[in-house]
């Protein structure tokens, strides 16, 4: 796939995931663990797409990709642990 097309597809995914997270966050119901997990999961998915494709670390691999990918996962995981 052409790099421009790939970036455009990733961008559409990012926009869709953001709108979906907004929709879930605005649901008129109390946020239980599953809902919070879903919101954080969407955040992690978006961060991964950003790191891999927009930052271009997918082609680099190694420690930098792991460090940047782990950032959102670690922050959300620690927040989740603190909330629980």
């Amino acid at each position: 796939m052409n790099n421009s097309i790939r970036l455009s597809v990733v961008w559409v995914f990012l926009m869709a995931l953001t709108c979906f997270a907004f929709y879930i966050g605005e649901l008129n119901q109390p946020q239980d663990g599953n809902l919070i997990l879903m919101i954080f999961g969407l955040g992690i998915a978006k961060a991964q797409l950003l790191v891999d494709y927009l930052m271009g670390l997918r082609a680099v691999g190694g420690g930098w990709r792991i460090a940047l990918s782990a950032y959102a996962i670690l922050v959300f995981a620690i927040i989740l642990l603190l909330i629980k």
Binding site: N3, S4, L7, S8, V10, W11, L14, M15, T18, C19, A21, F22, I24, G25, E26, Q31, I36, I39, F40, L42, G43, K46, A47, L50, V51, Y53, L54, M55, G56, R58, A59, V60, G61, G62, W64, A67, L68, Y71, A72, L74, V75, F76, I78, I79, L82, I83
Partner: protein, 202 residues
Amino acid sequence: MTPSSTHVNVKKSRVRFSFSKNEPLPGDLAMWVLILAELTVFAVLFFTFIINRIISPEVFQAGQAQLHVQSGLYITLALLTASYFVAMGVNSDKNKSHKWAVAWFYSGALCGIIYIGIKLYEYSILIDAGFGLTGHPFFMYYFLITGFHLIHVLLGVGLLIFMAIAIQRRKNTENGLDSVASYWHMVDLVWLVLFPLLYLLK
């Protein structure tokens, strides 16, 4: 080997190379060290916010109810679009389409300006309602974290415009371009954590 099969082999090896995991880190190493340092500072701010939220949940929930969640959505969409434009700009520059690279970078900067506009509008509404850096603990953290992020966006917009001008003047920008793009994506990455934390988590 026929000439046509050689051509196919060259094409295949190029495609394979573009997916190889041994490509060098885009931009300067110093920029990546700065990015890690910035991400660590933001992580500390996030944890401080969440610990205070656990200590006084009612106060934080009351403060959060004053926020315009739709503004948060528009800001996120603007930043993601800016990141997309910047990535397209880097891609265009690597393909030697400098005019397109300039256009993409200016578009990215415009999205950053849209973010700044929405954020300042949001601030003005909150300040008019009597919230500021002092008094309400939620808004103290809100203004501190988003203000710190806003400073990064301002710097990022300035760098994007600077790089667009540098490409226009045909200066050697390859390494600087990657560094600025990586910085901008870092600003976006921070917001991807900030958006659910401030606006969506209830």
